[in-house]
């Protein structure tokens, strides 16, 4: 009786070992089967690059604003001026989008100038995620800061950056 009990116990023990091993294998497989998602960091780095290009040491880039007027030429050639390359041979369509809005400090509700570059279709992805975040949607990051122009007028600059690259970062 005792031997039979021992036998039963060892079968039971073996079954537990198999279950534990199976569980760990599944968890590990699931973990490593998911790609590392770096899009949020990428979007933050993009914001930093854009901010560095627009403003330095609290002063707005003189190429962008001169005597209170924003330069259309800077807006048109924004990607070249800020050394950004949104096109890539890896992707058919641009995987980035950036939108910059300038607000006069006396009226923070309506923007006085804006720059938008990249794939505009990505913006809808941010709207969808206003209430809940979806892994397979784009990553959106928004930052804002104040900066002076050469005449010491204060502007609020809001930068939105969006990164898609879903296939490489989410499953």
């Amino acid at each position: 009786m005792n031997k039979r009990g021992d036998k039963l116990l060892s079968i039971y023990w073996f079954a537990i070992l198999v279950l534990i091993a199976g569980g760990i294998f599944l968890m590990v497989y699931n973990f490593y089967n998911h790609p590392y998602d770096v899009r949020e960091i990428e979007a933050e780095v993009l914001i930093n690059s854009v901010a560095d290009c627009l403003s330095s040491e609290g002063k707005i880039n003189s190429e962008l604003i001169y005597e209170g007027n924003f330069s259309e030429e800077f807006e048109e050639n924004f990607l070249e001026k800020c050394h950004l390359a949104f096109e890539s041979e890896v992707w058919e369509l641009p995987q980035y989008y950036t939108e910059i809005n300038f607000y006069n400090s006396s009226d923070l509700d309506s923007s006085v100038f804006n720059i938008t570059k990249g794939n505009k279709n990505l913006v809808s992805g941010c709207v969808i995620q206003e209430e809940k975040e979806y892994e397979r949607e784009v990553k959106c990051v928004e930052e804002e800061f104040f900066s002076f122009d050469e005449n010491n007028n204060l502007y609020l600059i809001k930068i939105l950056s969006i990164v898609r690259k879903t296939e490489k970062n989410a499953k």
């Binding site: 760990i24 790609p35 990428e42 993009l46 690059s49 070249e80 950004l84 890539s88």
Partner: protein, 139 residues
Amino acid sequence: MKKEIGKRGAILMENVVFIILNLLFISILIVFLLKQGEGAIVLEQSYAKYIALVIDAAKPGMEIKIDMEKGKKLAEKNNIDFDEIVKISGNSVKIKLSKNGEYIYSFFNDVNVTCYPDTSNPEDVTAYIFKINEYNAHE
């Protein structure tokens, strides 16, 4: 008396075998867990994304040194030269640690980058240097 000693010995033997089997099981699990994080697919992806992010945040004139010891060991195992594991073409980084696979990730910083193994210590070449030359010119 003799019989009793024999029985005790059998019980001890069973316990020893049981403990050894358990230890073996735990060791196999630990080795499995450690090996999973060192696979070519995982390493290729993490190196490519890491390098792309570093380049995105870099400015011309910078020289960045990245340790790739794990990648080197894996590449050597798969008969790939260390100076061929990282390639930068246009604005994308390509990492190759196995004969059949590679991983490509793009960056947005419009810079010209050159990369080569760090040979400052010829006896221990395990790092790569990424030199950010200048911004790409556009006509």
